[in-house]
Amino acid sequence: MAAKMTNKINSHSFPPSSRVMLISGTSRGIGKYLAQYYLSRGFKVIGCSRSPSNIENSGYLHFILNVADEPQVQKMLSAIRKTYGRLDYLLNNAAINPKISPVMLTSLVGMQKTFETNFFGTYLLSRESVKLMIPKKFGRIVNFGSMAAYHHVPGESAYTASKAAVLSWTRVFAKEVYSYGITCNVVSPAAIATDLSAQVDPAALKEVLKRNAIPEMGKFEDVSHLVNYLIDDQSHAMTGQTLYLGGV
């Protein structure tokens, strides 16, 4: 008596107004932009961050939480299930970038906090979100990496290592969830003018950007353009990949 599972990919045909997306880190930066962008397209958007949100839209629901806190994350996903009965998309955007410091001056607590938000948060939100995607046999997860994981910049060890963990973890997770119609990829933007990138020394950032084919800051629109492709119903064959922006 073998378990029966099909490898069928469901391409659902729901209108945008019934599609539900969860985005982490929506109080500012890329997360806030993406929340507003997908709201403008008619999606139902649930956002979360440690601080309140000033997004005002009837299709938006905000949770104040720490993405690495299991009970809090579980409670949010339970609320999403009870409110919408489904979750189609997850954008794991929340991240912190501690001040640049060499490894010898990086505290264990600083390293742990960076991993908590950047990696454990991504894992936890993905694990819990997939539970709402499996019954529908459809889901699109987009994790956020960074060009830091490619350039290996001195002083950025905590951020770089946490993002490298996201890249490797995504490849494994993609293989585990593909049979449920779920894809999982990484978008690695070049530097974009946000509060996060503002913490990086401008001269150092300029030096790093010079290594890219496009040696300039990226735009929010570049990110949404790529996310649109990855979450498309037809993009079922694109999974486990890291896509860099800016010609990294």
């Binding site: 008596m1 073998a2 378990a3 029966k4 599972m5 299991e70 009970p71 579980q74 409670k75 339970s78 299930r81 694990r127 539970k131 499996i134 019954p135 049979s179 449920y180």
Partner: protein, 98 residues
């Protein structure tokens, strides 16, 4: 929370997933029925489906949120997913704590 309530929830989850789990329509299962691992009918995909539904049903029907991906699940000598009975015992412990 009684084991009986948890048993009902788990049996109802298995009923709901009969097709996905590969149980034949008239198959009679008991607490001793193997689920996962040696002699069990479930592969990892089937187990994930069952885990998701059991967690949701425990919350909906018993009002307690549990996470089956608990460290203890991996450290026990006998896997909590081995039989329906071991799953009932394990879920009962988690639900008591929840």
């Amino acid at each position: 929370m009684s084991n009986q309530k948890v048993t009902q929830v788990i049996f109802s989850a298995i009923d709901e997933l009969k097709d996905v789990l590969g149980f034949e329509e008239n198959y009679h299962y008991t607490l001793e029925t193997h689920l996962f691992g040696e002699g069990g009918p479930l592969d990892s995909l089937g187990l994930v489906n069952l885990v998701v539904l059991v967690e949701q049903k425990i919350e909906d029907e018993l009002g307690t949120r549990i996470v089956l991906a608990d460290e203890r699940a991996l450290s026990q000598n006998e896997s909590p997913f081995k039989t329906i009975g071991t799953l009932v015992q394990y879920v009962s412990v988690l639900a008591q704590e929840g």
